[in-house]
């Protein structure tokens, strides 16, 4: 959760009171604000934190004018920085609550319950996750020791290198975790994200080896069970999930890829066999190494095809315009997808023949 500092509160006060920052400092009881913010930092859920903030600011009246309006504006800002919206209408109910808080008749808990009933969470977007992941990884850096090169790429650089499909996988993983009421995103949710994204090589390989979303969901419930309620806003990643991102990033670099793709994420999940995602793959596919081999095989096809396309485009650089190149890339990518799909069908047919004891090469 993103907590407010005294400068945040003063910035809101200055804007609402339409005065300079220096005037806002003069017109605010900073000690009272600090006390309220200290109490807020002792809380955890967004609604509870916002309740403590609202009750504290209304009771201690740190602003020398329009205290109630500034207090509510501060809470609105706090809530929206944590990706939620607070509905104020009907405003008469808010007034009644604030009157009762000021008279000492309503506690911060009541304020929290009221806020919870008026809170709407904004869906998490990839760009939000970028900030969260960066923040989480930077926090990890503070507690762990890494060599210089790792520090350089961890956190700040990593998520920026994720392709759009890889970011979609992470957003979907968050949604899956929320669906289970889990308070974290683990490798099992990443696995589900990879399956439900549906378009990537990783999704196709998982589908080809019979790892489907319903089967994975059943095992998640069996192994972990349902949670007691997902965190509000974006859900934090487990250390194993973060290690998966790091592994994926390392794999993408080792393979000379410009971006971290879903297939690199799947390599990360496959690498962590003790993680819940790895355990589920082992249960469903029997041979986790076979899944990895299949994935690497498909990745090699794709890499070969892409280098072919790049070569063709480089040769045609003198005769093709930017628009035509763009169109060509689009067409060739569609062709590669179709090629992969046909490869899969051929592989499935060969498997089928073998199961019926017919040599596919005879």
């Amino acid at each position: 959760m993103r907590y407010l500092g005294p400068y945040d509160v003063l910035a809101v006060a200055a804007r609402v009171l339409r005065c300079s920052s220096a005037d806002a400092v003069l017109r605010t009881d900073l000690n009272a604000v600090e006390r309220v913010l200290d109490s807020v930092r002792l809380t955890s859920g967004l609604a509870e934190s916002a309740g403590v903030m609202l009750a504290g600011l209304v009771r201690s009246r740190p602003f020398d004018a329009a205290n109630r309006v500034v207090a509510v504006a501060v809470v609105l800002q706090f809530v929206s920085l944590n990706r939620a919206e607070l509905q104020l209408e009907p405003v008469a109910d808010v007034d009644e609550l604030l009157d009762r808080i000021a008279a000492g008749e309503a506690s911060y808990r009541e304020a929290g319950v009221f806020i919870r009933s008026r809170l709407e969470h904004r869906p998490v977007k990839p760009e939000d996750l970028q900030d969260d992941l960066r923040l989480e990884l930077l926090l990890s850096e503070e507690t762990l020791t890494f060599d210089v090169e790792q520090e350089w790429w961890r956190g700040v650089r990593m998520y920026e290198q994720f392709s759009d499909p890889a970011r979609r996988v992470i957003v979907l993983a968050q949604e899956e975790a929320r669906g289970f009421d889990h308070a974290y995103v683990g490798t099992e949710h990443l696995l589900l994200g990879l399956i439900t994204e549906g378009q990537s090589i990783a999704a196709r390989v998982l589908n080809a080896v019979g790892i489907t979303a319903p089967a994975v969901k059943d095992l998640v419930v069996e192994i972990i069970g349902r949670g007691n309620g997902a965190a509000e806003g974006s859900i934090p990643f487990t250390p194993r999930a973060k290690s998966t991102f790091e592994y994926a990033w390392g794999e993408s670099k080792a393979r000379g890829a410009e971006q971290v793709r879903p297939e690199h994420l799947l390599l990360g999940v496959l690498n962590d066999r003790d993680g819940v995602g790895g355990q589920i793959i082992t249960k469903l596919a029997a041979d986790i190494d076979q899944v990895r081999r299949k994935l690497e095989e498909r990745m090699t096809w794709r890499e070969r095809s892409e280098s072919l396309v790049t070569g063709m485009l480089a040769e045609g650089a003198s005769w093709t315009t930017y628009g035509r190149r763009h169109h060509l890339i689009h067409e060739l990518t569609a062709l590669l997808d179709e090629n992969e799909r046909l490869h899969e069908q051929v592989a499935n047919l060969r498997d089928l023949l073998r199961r019926h004891e017919i040599d596919p090469d005879s």
Partner: protein, 75 residues
Amino acid sequence: MAKDATKNILLRLDPELAERLQTVASVEGRSVSDVAREAIAALVDQRRQDTQFSRLLEENLSRHEESLRRLRSDD
């Protein structure tokens, strides 16, 4: 709260910062509170210039303008 033009502020400062404020105050012949207030105002200005923070604030105030206007005053 009292509406005095100035007031003493008690802030928990780390010793190094407190020492720097003390140095600035003695060099400029001003009180530490005065220098601290100026430093805080500069930090608030910095916050107000943060694009994401100010965009969210403006969106909030504009979206809830009517509701905030109708809130009962407690002055």
